[in-house]
Amino acid sequence: MSAAATKSPKVTEGTSAAIHSNGKSGAPIAIAVENIVKRYGTFEAVKGVNFEVDEGEIFGLLGPNGAGKSTLIRMMTTLIPVTSGRAIVGGHDVSKDSDDVRRMIGVIPQALTSDPDLTVGENLSIYAKLYSVPRAQREKNIAEVLEAVDLTKWRDAQTKTLSGGMRRRLEIARGLVHNPRIFFLDEPTTGLDPVSRIAVWEMLNNLKKTRNLTMLLTTHYMEEADRLCDRIAIVDHGNLVALGTPVELKQSVPGSNVVEVQFNREDPEWKARLEALPDVTEVQSQSAGVYRVLTSNGSRTTTQLVEMAASLGEQLTALSVQNTSLDDVFVHYTGRQLRDEQVKSVFMMPPRPGAQP
């Protein structure tokens, strides 16, 4: 992973401009976002975000609903104009050289937008034409991308007959049909079952290796970000609040282990007692009397916890020790408050009855 990543992944609000070059040292920069702002009237959806993505890197954008992830990705893919700041994609400014940017990127939007009435091959052929892929190259590219997403035998099938996972793979193939250098994926596995999701992860990893693609993806799934991304940026309220490798982000959270414990009797005093234990950095009370204890020394806290329960004559009904996950990182940086999305009021067409999600 990137050795030159920021030492502290935490980025304080308003100081995001201070993030210096990140990623693999010496690697060319594929995407550079400088002080980028998106304003809708008085509402600021993105507030001066900075980051860089190295060539060949998989970069994840995490954040709660309405944090500004999709707005960021839409600015980088030329779909919405930038209010101020700069986004350089593949060496081209998205505001000034939009067409040059479009030629070198592939985009997988959140919704499944391949035409259900056309066949898999027709969908790819039309997009290849939209990217002006020469006729001789077109057939070769289509065959290659179908092979890469394992849809070769479905080439003549109508898209509406495909499952959700297959349609998502078709979207990925569509984004690759013109051999882009940089690939943007907006929540690529949303709505997929776990098996399909893992298949997509494997596919993206293979594509990165075989095509030397730079990928920028947004996701809600921490596991996805953990398994796929070389580096992750956490966005909240339009600000970049943390940036680093998954390992760095986990280390940045106080407490490197999580002990989950449940007592046989609920007592409001438990939280205070657990917080008083040495090495414990945070205690989160969960449902059904379960406490989630973040500690810098998992084994010692476990022993102390068992001893404390014994001394009080109480029994433990459940106990587990885990390493800090990206979920903890996410909650640490974005908080536990539910967010109400503030988005532009745009009517979204409900899916057609009987159509695959």
């Binding site: 839409r74 893919t77 030329t78 779909l79 919405i80 104009p81 067409d99 479009r102 030629r103 990127i105 985009v107 939007p109 959140q110 919704a111 937008t113 391949s114 035409d115 009435d117 056309l118 027709e122 039309i126 997009y127 034409k129 939209l130 990217y131 002006s132 109508q158 569509r174 745009v346 009517f347 979204m348 067409m349």
Partner: protein, 370 residues
Amino acid sequence: MNRMSAIIEREMRKFFRSPTLMIMSLMMPILQLIILGNAFGGKIVGTHVAVVDHDHGPEAVKVREAFDAIAVNIKTFTTVEYQNDVQASEDVRTGKIDAAVIIPAQYSRRVYAQDAPKLGFVVDNSDLFMSSSLEAEMQSLVDAMNAPQTQSRLATSIALEVVELYPYVNYLKFLLPLTVALAMYISVMIGGGMLYIDDKARGVHEGYLVTPITKFELVFGMNIAGSVKAVLAGISLTVIGSLMAGLGVIFHPEAMAELFCLIVAGSIAFNGMMFLLMVRVNDPLVPRAMFGVLNTLLLYPSGGMYPIAAFPRWLRAISVIDPFTYCVHGFKAVLLKDGGFVAIQYDLLFLFAFGIGALLIATPLFKRTL
């Protein structure tokens, strides 16, 4: 051009994959042609007219014989005997009968005495078409009875010699020009309006916008595809409608070429208008809600159903800028009058100018971003 043709290819493949669109865009105009063409083209028959005879004299008998002749010949009405004119009037009011003729007492004597004899006619004028038909029938009957018994050897009154330029045009034929225009309009409304906004809402346009396609290529690709669909609908309806109405004009190459020009010009005009109306719309409910409003606003002032000369000034102003007006006029000129290119040149000019003008206004309004 390659990118523009990709948009057209996608639209046309979709169009032929879902024949519902094609069927529905033809079904409504054909149904309208069949239902309205037959409903409006007929004559009134089988109505019931009450006869209240207070006279019972020889002239009253003549009147009743004339009624019987109508009942067995053109069958506009049959008579029902009433004794009481108050009851007859009441029954006309309540709809039991359609009209009542009252032959007053002393009617025969007044005829012989040439003392301004009158027949009473009670009619339900809430239905203008029915009442005017019955009145016309009754007036012709009275005129016949007023005619002198012996004709003068020399004609003394002025006669109007009517020369009809064209063979008899029944209502089915009369409606055909409007129906062809309607088929093209519905095709544009569904294919260019509803599907365009649905695609936008489903994110299909988002897929286009991340490609290097230019605004011009995107706008013209979608509009050419929309116009081609409307042309196909127009050609289909012209052929089907002409065969249904019994018009042989479609078998004349020159007329076919003129019709084709009109269909292309009309399709471009309707498509340009629709694109201009929809260019900034995102909500799929809007084109559906607009369908009925636009239909009324454009169809009826076109002169396809009722003459423009009978409209008030403000309605005439709408018909002047309504592309339907020029489509209907052009199709009438070719289908019903065989007027040649001269008769349609201004229609073609307006339709092309309207369509291209609308597109020129709409293109800058089209947003290349979300």
